[in-house]
């Protein structure tokens, strides 16, 4: 691979399907965490119920695409209610515990051998995107420009995904400039104060949890459609933490934070991967094997990503779009 391949590869990933999935998940999480202050550590669970509803309804039960998609979104509503009803009246940390535990529990259940016929065990569901492929209007040869190459279906997913992401950003913008959004932000600051002014805090927290969860399910659905596969390993806890990373890079409680965060996160994570791969591969690698083998190199991206995150948190803790003055204010 040429050196230019490293850059173009990073850009392809930076705007590719993975970035879209995390962007959507982070838009949902932004409503939870960024605006309402809900500590949802189980965004992967919302993605999972969306993705699995789609995959299993189509593959196992032979449903068409669109009804499966709608059921996927409804499942997220159900999950939000199940998680929210018992915990949203309690202190914030209970939601965090409930969501992280629920995410793992659901993942174990869906991946269990006992439900192999329905959900496919550890392999999950696959090959359920024929309905989506039939909608593909991108030329079958794929798309090539500026040294970037995308396969036809990937490019189709990108068009659908980024359109969806921008529509959702507009939707979030409209909501958050309104008095409804003001109540959410106020709950983040101090929910007792909001109660004392006659607002039903519980109801607003539930609305936020459902809305962000449904957008999370959309992310899971896009993940299934993009990779033609849903498997338990796609929705592990690190999915949630990567989503938080994306959100914080972009800036929490900012409309375009998740978009910028996803672009930057995936540009770096794949760029670093390709860079270290290039440095250690070939007959005469730039970095000799005595220092680093190519197996070790694949881990370097996480080390450097951690470093970049730390630098952002130290020098730009408000994220790309955040307002530093706002962050300087002590929360209480």
């Amino acid at each position: 691979m040429e050196w230019s391949g490293v850059l173009s590869g990073a850009i392809e990933q930076g705007i590719g399907p993975s970035a879209i999935i995390y962007c959507l998940a982070a838009i949902g999480l932004n409503i939870h965490f960024g605006y309402t202050g809900l500590l949802n550590f189980g965004q992967a669970a919302f993605m999972m119920v969306g993705g699995y509803a789609l995959g299993s309804l189509i593959q196992t039960w032979g449903w068409p695409l669109f009804p499966s998609l709608v059921v996927g979104l409804l499942m997220a509503v159900v999950l939000a209610l199940v998680l929210g009803v018992p915990t949203l009246r309690l202190r914030a940390d209970y939601l965090a515990i409930a969501t992280i535990a629920a995410a793992e529990a659901i993942r174990q259940v869906l991946g269990s051998a006992a439900l192999n016929d329905e959900f496919g065990g550890q392999d999950g569901r696959y090959g359920f995107v024929d309905g989506m492929r039939s909608l593909n209007f991108v030329p079958s040869g794929g798309v090539h420009f500026l040294g970037l190459d995308f396969r036809s279906y990937d490019f189709f997913i990108m068009i659908v995904g980024w359109t969806l992401a921008l529509l959702l950003c507009g939707f979030v913008y409209l909501l958050m400039r309104s008095p409804w959004g003001r109540v959410l932000k106020s709950i983040r600051e101090d929910e007792d104060a909001v109660r004392s002014l006659g607002k039903n805090v519980y109801s607003y927290k539930m609305q936020a949890l459902v809305l962000g969860g449904v957008i999370g399910a959309l992310a899971g659905i896009m993940s299934g459609l993009a990779t033609s596969n849903v498997a338990p390993s796609d929705f592990a806890t690190d999915t949630t933490f990567f989503t938080y990373t994306v959100l914080l890079i972009g800036g929490a409680a900012r409309v375009f934070g998740p978009v910028a965060g996803a672009l930057i996160f995936w540009f770096f994570i794949s760029g670093l991967d390709l860079f270290f791969d290039k440095m250690t591969s070939g007959a005469n690698p730039t970095i000799p094997a005595s220092i680093m083998t190519d197996d070790q190199a694949s881990l370097m991206r996480l080390i450097f990503l951690g470093l970049i995150l730390m630098l952002i948190m130290i020098y730009r803790p408000q994220g790309i779009f955040g307002d530093r003055r706002e962050l300087a204010i002590d929360a209480h």
Binding site: S186, D192, S196, V201
Partner: protein, 298 residues
């Protein structure tokens, strides 16, 4: 109006026009009875002060009345409607709005947004209508005008576009009071409005509290500075160890030596003499020794 201040049950007599009446309200935390109020009333259109030493249960009682905490027993009514088991947001909607001892401003919202939040019946606070600005912008403008008038009254209008978190402690108290007024409450309950406020601002706060009554609202406030209470309140209720021990007009209650000695301390507002300081010190040391001994024995 009853003027008796003796700590007996006949002092807690019925008043002519009560906005809030509470009976037999108790709240226990484990073995500790934090609040045990037999009878409590607030007269409409007056400023009632709730005083008592630290730990007397004033704030707990406040929390119970406003639904922020649930009592073990008791009934209370606001304008004749029972408030037992009514959640805090519904209490506020009925026209009974409180502030907090530790001010709760919404730090990362602008001052004006803090104010707008207080307005009731906002169409834009419903999910679907919120998406269409046309449905709520008119109401928003009315609320903003009212908010700016209130901010001007509390001399915060210059700060309207600053983050509430950048305000000083005293300004936060003012903002909280102004925000409560956005709800347009009949009864406004202020939990230690003067705590941590400098003397100059205290005077202006007192003025504001009086102005609330003058515009026809009923005020209940918690305070422990006797001079403040004397200046502005029409009726004083003294709490100690969870119970109401005396009530009456301020001068009568404050002239009651027993109340002063028992519940505000014999040396309230008086400089300690050398002898009394020594006495207190000796007593404290003796207490510490006793504790240490008790620990050794245990």
């Amino acid at each position: 109006m009853p003027t008796d201040t003796q700590p007996s049950s006949d002092t807690q007599s019925k008043k002519s026009d009560s906005i809030l009446v509470a009976d037999g309200v108790t709240r226990k935390f484990g073995g500790l009875t934090a609040v045990d109020v037999e009878h409590f009333e607030i007269q409409r259109g007056k400023i009632t002060a709730l005083i008592g030493p630290n730990g007397a249960g004033k704030t707990t009682f406040f929390n119970l009345l406003t639904g922020f905490d649930e009592p073990d027993s008791g009934e209370w009514t606001f304008n004749g409607q029972s408030l037992h088991g009514v959640p805090p947001y519904k209490v506020a909607r009925k026209g009974m709005v409180r502030t907090f001892q530790l001010t709760k401003v919404l730090s990362r919202l602008k001052v004006i947004e803090n104010m707008r939040l207080g307005a009731t019946g906002q169409r834009g606070e419903k999910f679907f209508p919120s998406l269409f600005k046309g449905l709520w912008s008119g109401q928003e403008k009315e609320n903003t005008d009212r908010a700016m008038d209130l901010l001007a009254r509390f001399k915060l209008d210059a700060k309207a576009d600053d983050f509430a978190g950048s305000l000083s402690g005293g300004q936060r108290k003012l903002l909280e009071m102004a925000r409560a007024l956005m709800v347009d409450p009949e009864l406004i309950m202020l939990d230690e409005p003067m705590a941590g406020v400098n003397p100059a601002l205290k005077q202006s706060l007192l003025g504001h509290v009086k102005s609330l009554r003058d515009e026809g609202r009923t005020v209940l406030f918690v305070e422990h500075d006797m001079d403040m209470v004397r200046d502005i309140s029409d009726w004083v209720v003294v709490m100690a160890q969870g119970k109401i021990v005396a009530e009456g007009p301020p001068d009568t209650v404050m002239a009651n030596q027993a109340v002063i000695d028992a519940y505000l301390g014999a040396h309230h507002d008086a400089a300690l003499t050398h002898e009394t300081e020594e006495e207190i010190l000796a007593a404290a040391e003796a207490e510490l020794e006793a504790e240490a001994e008790a620990e050794e024995n245990s």
